[in-house]
Amino acid sequence: MVTKILFFFFSFLAIASSLMVLIVRKPIHGVLYLTLAFLAIAGHFILLNAQFIAIVNVIVYAGAIMVLFLFTVMLLNLNLSTELSKPRLVVLAAVIASGLLFLTIAGASKSAELNYNLYHPTTQIGLVKSLGKVLFNEFRFPFEVSSILFLSAMVGAVMLGKKTGD
């Protein structure tokens, strides 16, 4: 019962704060609401007993990525409150199109007959111990490749961010 209440609380928090990202005028408020949405999703991960993913989500998304967004907004003085919005017809078309996308996916998943009884009650797969074993046995190579990806992303970001004049 408590789990159900927590599930609906976190769902409401995630959906409401994601909507607020689109509603608020200033980008910096959008960044703060997005952080709240990420924390709600981390709560969902804890509810699913995926503790490693939950803590990585908090560190990487709510920590690193959001700080990057905040620095960009604040240092470049991008916190413009001037309304940058598309014509009303485009907005209406976009809302209808995304509503239809929701109906399509929800309807398709309803007829997919998902098997609810696959869950093993004593599962411990989300803990750091078991995930670490899988990550460093089966997924060693992708893990090492991701370090090269990070290096190239770092070099690319520094090259792009450099002043070109001098």
Partner: protein, 109 residues
């Protein structure tokens, strides 16, 4: 720990599908509606996170740790993508003094 895990079974997998679809659709609507490049980036992050949540839900319900490892790699790629993407936004701002994507129409058909 066991009681917590047994409680999870009371939430059907279908609810996670609906929640993640709703979050994904909010992200799609943000990309379609907004003209501010930063907010479009944030909408993309919402979409990535909704897919992550669905992957973890399926991984837990199927008792397969590979799904959570995949989420870990999605987060790695998302972090790299945000670093490069925000550098591009900063450069666009330096060149056009605006982050309105309607200025970036040279490649538009």
């Amino acid at each position: 720990m066991n009681t917590l895990s047994e409680n999870i079974t009371s939430i059907p997998l279908q609810h996670y599908v609906w929640l993640c679809t709703l979050l994904f659709v909010i992200g799609v609507a943000g990309v379609l509606i907004k003209r501010n490049a930063l907010i479009i980036f944030m909408s993309i992050e919402i979409m990535l996170n909704s897919v992550n949540l669905l992957l973890v839900a399926f991984s837990v319900y199927h008792n397969d740790p590979a799904g959570q490892i995949f989420v870990f790699f999605v987060m790695v790629v998302a972090a790299a993508e945000v670093a490069v993407g925000l550098a591009i936004v900063v450069m666009v701002y330096r060149h056009t003094h605006s982050i309105d994507i309607n200025f970036l129409n040279k490649l538009k058909w």
